[in-house]
Assembly symmetry: C2
Homo-oligomer: 476 residues x 2
């Protein structure tokens, strides 16, 4: 009864996906609302996921030579204005500090929405010779964008992220680093978050303010909407020219550096929820689950049961494990562990102990299996591996089953209205067609994937010769 009540607090995703999302985020205690409009509090269960994301992403960064730094959170207005496209893209959505202490500021400062300008200002003073290159810096911090409509993790006025900013001697090296980091992101999403992604390039319309080229990874959520999950930008020497970042090359001539930037944010937690979650709550991939297995003692007041539960926990010290020894009923504990997305549940009661076994239950499928106690470590390890693997494959199947081909506007319209998902279609390369599709279907070009296909010769919109296959979709 009690456990039923707990689960009933979640709206079903078929009924109202947006409400389901909000319910899961709140009931699994990932966030709390605050008195600061558009900003959330990330609670321990949510922040622990972010810590696991940070740790594993940071290790992958460092393996490619990235060094972490920290730049100021404020940008003087004059600095933000130095690169024309960049300021036009960001000025309308920044927060402005106009007073420091009791004095009005002589020049107002914006709270960083992203830090290209600060890194450029820094590199201008720090780079002199080819010996100073490349610079491959990253920072973990929070940024602010004054959004009108906000949703936890997906769009909030303040969010946590990492932003990499690099400077290179040649255009080729900058391009390579841009693609390298996109691949780091894609591999991380697939291997750690169990989220399959499409890798590709953004159109001119959708690229980052000030970039020469923006690359993206796009994931498909359970409701058929796309989520941009990480971007990597090649700036060429545009920022370098605006900021005067020059170096003396080996040939003794003065050259501009070539730059990149790339970022991933707490919206990844939103992606995890919307790719893997179900009507019982969160489902966490083992590699980012703060608790990988919960041990639930059955009839815990019987002698030896709790001791056995702690003993199993000690034996599972290679994993992130906790014992739920609260005085709640086992049913309630099961429901709570499901809500929180804990990958494996270990049930152990007096009869199990007598029989020298326990019961393992998978969160992702609900499958139960008996496990001889002497095989516990191996079995739990194997089960976590299987869950991690199967979650990716299940998400991939869902994504593929919701990826469609449209040859003309009627097909596109019907697909987007009836069976939301990715729509692959050919494109002439014109801004007008992109605008028209957005206007008619509220769908945007997600990316021009690296893996191109020739679906037809002509643009889905105007019928002129096609240049690129594009993934289209409605997006968060």
């Amino acid at each position: 009864m009690a456990d039923k009540k707990l689960v009933e607090q979640i709206t079903s995703m078929e009924e109202d996906f947006a409400q389901w999302y909000t319910d899961v985020v709140v009931k699994s205690e990932l966030i709390g609302y605050t008195s600061v409009k558009g900003c959330m509090a990330i609670k321990p269960a949510g922040y622990a996921i972010w810590e696991l994301i940070q740790k594993q992403l940071d290790e992958r960064f460092k393996a490619t030579g990235v060094q972490n730094v920290y730049m100021p959170m404020f940008i003087p207005e004059s600095l933000l204005e130095k690169e024309k496209d960049h300021v036009e893209g960001f000025a309308p959505e920044v927060a402005w500090v106009t007073q420091g202490g009791l004095q009005p500021l002589q020049e107002r400062l914006c709270v960083r929405p992203t830090s290209e300008t600060l890194f450029c200002d820094f590199y201008k003073n720090d780079i002199h010779s080819y010996r100073d290159l490349p610079k491959v810096y990253n920072q973990w911090c929070s940024v602010v964008r004054w959004e009108k409509e906000t949703r936890p993790f997906l769009r909030s006025r303040e969010f946590l992220w990492q932003e990499g900013h690099t400077a290179h001697a040649t255009a080729e090296e900058a391009k390579e680093r841009t693609i390298q980091m996109l691949n780091v992101y894609a591999d991380f999403c697939e291997e750690v978050l169990a989220i399959p992604v499409i890798r590709g390039r953004k159109t001119e319309k959708e690229k980052f303010a000030g970039a020469e080229a923006t690359y993206t990874i796009e994931a498909l959520m359970h409701d058929g909407k796309a989520l941009q999950s990480g971007t990597s930008h090649n700036f060429g020497d545009g920022f370098a020219k605006a900021f005067g970042i020059q170096f003396t090359d080996k040939d003794n001539t003065l050259k501009y550096v070539h730059q990149t930037s790339w970022g991933m944010t707490t919206r990844l937690i939103g992606a995890i929820i919307m790719v893997h979650g179900d009507n019982s709550g969160l489902v966490l991939p083992p590699r980012v689950a703060p608790v990988q297995a919960v041990i639930v003692p059955i009839q815990q007041r019987k002698e030896g049961v709790l001791d056995k539960a702690y003993e199993l926990k000690d034996r599972l010290s290679g994993f992130r494990v906790k014992v739920d020894d609260t005085d709640k009923s086992p049913g309630w504990k099961f429901a709570e562990a499901e809500m929180r997305g804990i990958p494996v549940r270990v049930e152990i009661g007096p009869k199990d102990i007598e029989a020298g076994k326990c019961v393992l239950v998978r969160r992702d499928t609900g499958e139960k299996q008996e496990c001889a106690l002497e095989e516990l470590e191996e079995s739990v390890g194997a089960l976590l591996d299987a869950i991690q693997h199967d979650m990716l494959e299940r998400a991939r199947k869902h994504r593929d089953a919701h990826t469609y081909v449209a040859k003309n506007m009627e097909e596109m319209e019907r697909i987007l209205a009836e069976t939301p998902g990715f729509v692959k279609a050919m494109w002439c390369g014109c801004r007008e067609c992109e605008d028209q599709i957005k206007e008619r279907f509220a769908a945007t070009s997600r990316c021009m994937p690296f893996e191109q296909e020739e679906l037809s010769d002509v643009c889905v919109c105007c019928g002129r010769p096609a240049k690129k296959m594009v993934y289209w979709g409605k997006a968060y």
Copy 2:
């Protein structure tokens, strides 16, 4: 010649300690200056120290049950104003956001100088029953205080820190947590940073705005000035009453929670520099050294030398080690490694290889020792342990040798003028005497140490009966 030039870039600490500090911070590449007044860029060498501090402090926190969270960086003015002493303490030094996007804000927001008010606002909604207690939350973030005079790491308009905020059912539990975290800080300083500290309580005059009691750890820098290195505050139920944070206790009555907060900042990096540094640059304790040993190949173009250097690095994989294989001279490499404070230098050349040995050099003492190659791992490990241990003992001796006793104002004046350091003196407990000492000698009460001594019966200033022994000193 070249290496001499490198070292000469540092002013000697005897000549001008403040300039020595600035030189070390810049030449060892810990920070860079930015166009944002009063804010610094923390470069890779500096940030890597902060990462090691974070990691080890965070582990110690989590071992006591701390959970990490993230609160918004903005505080609405009305929220900041809820606790009277707190707003008086902080309002004069905060930065105000008055515009979001293209619109002026209806209520201005300050950039958090500290987050008591946000945590209180959060706890008010999140705590209902004794079952919800204790809350032992912490966040790693940056905060802003609009300082007029700034110095890298010691005082800057934005700095990085952690802030713990807890809520408890009883006053006793809150007090225990306050002292527990102070002890975590003190142990961390001594065991990890090799910095001995005095543990004690702040006077009423020096306590945190809104606290019932503030506890502190105080360290002595090489120039005899004190540095407050971490503080822990007991709020009693003051904030709880101002914010209405109540819970239903086991006895079914409604009670206010009791709260604490505690913080440590990037100023610890300033402490490391000023406690351990010397006229050749930084000296890093092994536990926070991003590079613990640098291998410098001698005559590296001779066959086999570089290969041997890499082989040694592989064998030292249990430590943080790098090979300096740049084309600089060995002398230059030595000077650079000294500037950066790398604890151990490993020299390996053709003759060493032939003799089956290498040379190990300690950064802290300059001592050299020969080391048989087959004993390398053990020797380097033992040397790092010895350095860590000796640095603490050396700092403790320096601190003790610069701790004086003053029985009257004349003695105090002479000590503070001639031999700066800690001055132990008795105090009557009156604000007037504290003010007078500050005015006359520019020295403040650092703390009332837990380990009290009876130096005399009377106050050093007014001669009335003494209540407490106090550590006084000039401070950063």
